[in-house]
């Protein structure tokens, strides 16, 4: 995978497939980006598991926080990493020891480690780096367009309401057709 630019189909495919996301580097501070993403993905129907050794055992928005990936008692589809680039490799190594293995390693904006990405890809995982799943979800669902953001997508189909409110959009299109 070329990690400088990802096709929308690749990102959409990932966000449409994964259900359980473990968030390494989760901050309980409600103004930090990781908390924004945590809350947003929960509201969009993902199961999000916070990982932070200093907060282990506590609950945030009903989700139990764990100290490390291998403490999580259920299968993880995607590991979302909110740590500086130099800390990514050991997290990927931990992720690869999980049974079953996660399908996706995702690192946040400004976080990129090509070596770690190569290790994950060699083990059959998909990798996304230097992107935010909240922004990507918002972009591909059209929600982000409400903020005047260039979603870099055109469509002749209307966006699909996710239900549970007016301002919550899904990743498919009205009529049930998925866009990839």
């Amino acid at each position: 995978m070329n990690h400088d630019s990802y096709p929308d189909t690749y990102i959409r495919g990932i966000l449409n497939t994964v259900k359980t996301v473990a968030m390494v580097g989760f901050s309980p501070n409600t103004t930090r980006p990781s908390y924004f993403v945590f809350k947003y993905l929960l509201e969009r129907g993902f199961k999000v598991i916070p990982i932070n050794p200093g907060q282990a055992g506590k609950e945030f928005l009903g989700q139990t926080c764990y100290a490390a990936l291998n403490d999580v008692p259920e299968p993880i589809d995607m590991v979302d990493i909110f740590r500086a680039s130099e800390h990514v490799m050991p997290i990927v190594e931990d992720a690869l020891k999980l049974q079953p293995k996660p399908q996706v390693i995702w690192t946040q904006l400004t976080v990129r480690n090509d070596e770690a990405a190569a290790v994950a890809e060699a083990a059959g995982l998909k990798v996304v780096m230097n992107r935010c799943p909240k922004i990507e979800y918002g972009r591909l669902s059209s929600e982000i367009s409400w903020m005047g953001i260039n979603s870099r997508t055109l469509s002749n189909k209307r966006a699909q309401n996710l239900g549970g409110g007016f301002q919550r959009m899904g990743l498919g299109e009205a009529g049930g057709k998925k866009n990839d």
């Binding site: 929308d8 103004t31 809350k39 509201e43 005047g148 953001i149 055109l154 469509s155 209307r158 009205a174």
Partner: protein, 428 residues
């Protein structure tokens, strides 16, 4: 699109960018969301919106789905990451500078600007403690010499109003980069159809949408485009972007919103607190106008070049200032920055001086005598007897508005009719 990774062309973006069918009704034209406010899904949703944790609509002073279509469309056409539409071009300039400057700071601006911007910078902005330092676009080194530790931005127009002169964007952008400040380009006269300043180093693009983008002289509007290129956190010079914001419980906008943080800052701090929101009805008219921008703009340029050619050999005309003319001082820059044409605005010097100017604006039958540019209709103004009336002759000449000068904004009527009208007006 069927082929998801195909990059759409400019004309396609002008029509489709931002405007998917309405999610609720399927309406294919962009609906005019003429509402002040929006019902929250629930208390938690309201909290998420106010805390900037969710994307969505709260109140039309901060955002509106019709305005959002316009924002995304212009952002796509300029190749930016995001846009913020506001009540006027002048309001866009206020919000940009308010996000960048603290009282006592400086910004460098080209001397060759729309007269209203020169006024805004010299008077209103100075009263806020935002100090303009003027530089000469004909002497690029004057920008470099103007840089001080207080400099927070550099501002130019791509094609300058009124003389149809072209600014050498690339070297000025390089000076901004070296100084570690954003390069702001007012792209009103060129529009992204003729020039995309982001390709030449702009970090922020502003427009008066009132002109060619809206294109029909029916709405006042402005827009700010974030190129997504500037690193707001590097030198810690921009507290609105790189420091915890007390307005939002300590959120740091750059770390939270990445490469569209500037547009968000202008929205959630500038627009929210200063308030110059665009009406959704104006946004509808302007985005409808943009659908035909490529067709109109080419016609504007073709007509303007024919008019400039005609006037440059007219017996009653002393000179024509239009970068599109082969012999013009700015023609080399025009070929580089606006190869499809140099826009529709030019100034013309009349041999008969002040009286000839007054006579021409009185005698024309097709041209409208008014203070605007960028309409489908051809427009004319004699600055010395109108917008620049209060200045001395010397001040008028310095501002490019000497007693002999008329400004034209060439419309998209038949060019033979435009030329015939000027000819009869000049000879009458």
């Amino acid at each position: 699109m069927a082929d998801a990774e195909r990059i759409p062309g400019f004309d396609t973006l002008a029509i489709h960018a931002g405007a998917k069918p309405d999610p609720t009704t399927g309406a294919r034209a962009t609906p005019i969301y003429q509402t002040a406010s929006y019902v929250f899904d629930d208390v938690d949703h309201a909290a998420s919106l106010f805390g900037l944790q969710a994307f969505g609509n709260i109140y039309t002073r901060i955002g509106n789905p019709t305005c959002a279509v316009l924002e995304e469309r212009v952002a796509a056409l300029e190749g930016g990451t995001a846009g913020l539409a506001v009540a006027s071009g002048h309001a866009a300039q206020v919000l940009v500078m308010q996000a960048l400057l603290m009282p006592g700071d400086e910004f460098i601006a080209s001397r060759k600007l729309y007269g209203g911007s020169i006024n805004q910078f010299n008077h209103a902005f100075k009263s806020f403690g935002w100090n303009v330092v003027w530089a000469d676009p004909d002497d690029i080194s004057s920008f470099e010499r103007a840089v001080t530790p207080k400099t927070k931005a550099i501002f130019v127009e791509s094609i300058a109003n009124p003389g149809g002169t072209v600014t050498d964007l690339e070297p000025i952008g390089a000076i901004a980069r070296k100084a570690g400040v954003p390069f702001i380009v007012d792209n009103t006269l060129a529009t992204p159809y003729l020039c995309k300043p982001i390709d030449f180093g702009a970090d922020i693009v502003v427009h008066s949408l009132t002109k060619f983008l809206g294109g029909h002289g029916n709405s006042i509007g402005g827009i700010i485009i974030d190129a997504g290129t500037f690193n707001w956190s590097r030198d810690k010079k921009y507290p609105m972007l790189c420091e915890p914001r007390p307005e939002y419980a300590g959120i740091v906008l750059h770390e939270t919103f990445g490469n569209f943080a500037f547009a968000i800052a202008c929205r959630v701090l500038g627009l929210r607190d200063l308030g110059p929101a665009l009406s959704p009805f104006n946004a509808f008219l302007i985005s409808t106008g943009i659908e035909t921008l490529p067709l109109r703009m080419q016609r504007h340029c073709d007509n303007a070049l024919a008019v400039a050619d005609f006037l440059s050999t007219h017996p009653n005309v002393a000179w024509v200032s239009y970068g599109g003319l082969a012999g013009d001082k700015y023609h080399g820059l025009a070929k580089k920055y606006v190869p499809k044409g140099c826009g529709a605005v030019m100034t013309v010097g009349l041999k008969g001086g002040y009286d000839a100017g007054v006579k021409l604006v009185s005698n024309v039958k097709l041209f409208s005598h008014l203070a605007n540019i960028g309409d489908t209709k051809s427009l004319i103004i004699h600055p010395a007897s109108t917008t620049h009336r209060q200045l001395s002759d010397e001040q008028k000449t310095k501002a490019g508005a000497g007693p002999d000068v008329v400004r034209l904004s060439i419309g998209i009527e038949d060019k033979a009719d435009i030329i015939a009208d000027l000819d009869q007006g000049l000879r009458a």
